[in-house]
Amino acid sequence: MPGFLETTVDKFIFKVATDRHYSAEGVWALAEGDRIRVGMTDFLQQLNGDVAFAEVKPEGTAVATGDEVAVIETIKANVEVPSPVGGTVVEVNPAMELSPEAINQDPYGQGWLVVIEASDWPTDRDALLDPQAYFELMKGQAEEEAKKL
């Protein structure tokens, strides 16, 4: 179980896992050797609401950093998830087929999307945010969203 940074904005509690890196778009990347597990942050999933369907790029798909690696259809929107890392999709979460609500229930665990074999993880990692930096960015984004309520 990772540790978490946590903040409350309005009535919502948002968590940021401390064991991985983040893109500003709210996508996390967890290094497991050269393989990078990828998923949506707690903030991104809460922002977009209950997930109806998840379409994830199949195994063998080559993706560049920023390429769409999944499209998540929620009750509010279709969310295009940009890959935080370049490489090849080597594993797809089977839960996305039958129980994509795992994204809502456990965004940093069972709700992962894909595993990507990174072509240049050190370079991609340097372009990502560490947990504290993403936490500060996310708090600002959450506060902006709260003003719209």
């Binding site: 209950d50 109806a52 009750i75």
Partner: protein, 142 residues
């Protein structure tokens, strides 16, 4: 379809911000006004929230079907908090997952997909209502 006095209460979502709440209400209207008007009765979630005695008595005395528009499941929770039991709970999102071709859009006015989804949901509710009424009649005659 039903004997006089045997009714199933229908409690839809009262959410106002997303299509799914509207779908829940459209389905509830279709069941209570068109498909099974004699064996069902619409109960407003807001009355349960207010603690209205008539609404509380209705869900306490009759089998109740809830239709929730999101995972907060306010309809199911309020029925339970009002002393009723949920005979069958529906979630619009689950129905949409079974009917992806019916993508709901619009809030005040549903698009074609939303109307079709509401109809599909209403058919599922109607089947449950018939089953509940049959069970009630069977227990009455036993």
């Amino acid at each position: 379809m039903s004997s006089e006095g045997r009714k199933v209460m229908i409690v839809p979502c009262s959410g106002i911000g997303k299509s799914y709440g509207t779908v829940s209400r459209e389905a509830a209207f279709e069941v209570t006004e068109d498909s099974r008007p004699r064996s069902t009765q619409l109960v407003a979630l807001s009355l349960l929230v207010l603690g209205d005695e008539g609404a509380r008595a209705a869900v306490g005395a009759h089998p109740t079907v809830t239709i929730d528009g999101c995972k907060l499941a306010c309809a199911a929770k309020m029925v339970q908090e009002s002393g009723g039991a949920v005979a069958q709970g529906f979630a619009v999102l689950d129905v949409y997952r079974r009917h992806r071709e019916f993508k709901p859009q619009g809030i005040a006015e549903l698009n074609e997909g939303g109307q079709q989804l509401a109809h599909a949901l209403a058919e599922e509710i109607t089947a449950v209502v018939d089953d509940l009424i049959s069970q009630e009649e069977a227990s009455h005659h036993a």
